[in-house]
Amino acid sequence: MKDCISLTLPTKSEYVSVARLTASVVANNMGFDIESIEDIKVAVGEACNNAVLHGACQTEFDISFTVEHSEFVVDVLDCGNGFSIDSYNEPDLMNPGENGLGIFIMKSLMDDVTVESKVGNGTKIRMVKRLVV
């Protein structure tokens, strides 16, 4: 059985918490432990931050949570500026900058993260967390 929860949120910072809290509730219902729920909440926040910060003149972005067996799949889709994946560099942890930590944090906290983005064509981020039974 597959359940899907979809949200369309304004690209405004005050609505990112709506996505974070929704993710927490769904993850809690699935039976994730507190640490994993925190991981999911932070990763979802980072993906939404990306949509809000780079959503350009788009007024909305989409987020969906799919629950299938023990997998929690989060898709965040915006139609904003996008960016060149080739130009993305992992942050230098010995000399961290003020930007660029978001994708690194998502990849650290979730089991799988894929980012599809093209300059001018928006960004799609898919993240998966698996429930270890």
């Binding site: 910072s13 918490s17 932070v42 939404c48 931050n49 930590l101 906290l109």
Partner: protein, 104 residues
């Protein structure tokens, strides 16, 4: 989601004490940046950030702390992070920031 900040200069030990209560996220990190810089405008010194009541921080908040740390370091001062909850410590550890802030 909100952020409350209690700020006080500790005359005895000569540092800014900043208590963060709530969430530092994309909505509140700009205000954190402004307020920390205003404190340093008043007096350049070490900053002790009490995180006992900080429930959430994201990359925008960490970016603010990194930016303020650069200013603080120029004056040979430090940012101390104290009483952080486990979820905050985890984020500081995976990003390596536990090595550039003084963790208490």
């Amino acid at each position: 989601m909100s952020l409350k900040m209690n700020k006080q200069f500790q005359d005895m030990d000569q540092f800014w004490s900043v208590e963060l209560i709530g969430d530092v996220d994309i909505q509140t990190s700009g205000r954190l940046k402004d307020e920390l810089n205003q404190l340093l405008d008043q007096r350049e010194s070490n900053i002790n950030i009490d995180c006992a009541s900080l429930s959430y921080i994201d990359s925008t908040g960490l970016g603010v702390l990194i930016g303020v740390l650069k200013r603080v370091k120029k004056n040979e001062n430090e940012i101390l992070i104290s009483n952080a909850q486990q979820n905050i410590i985890k984020l500081l550890t995976i990003t390596g920031l536990d090595k550039i802030f003084v963790m208490k």
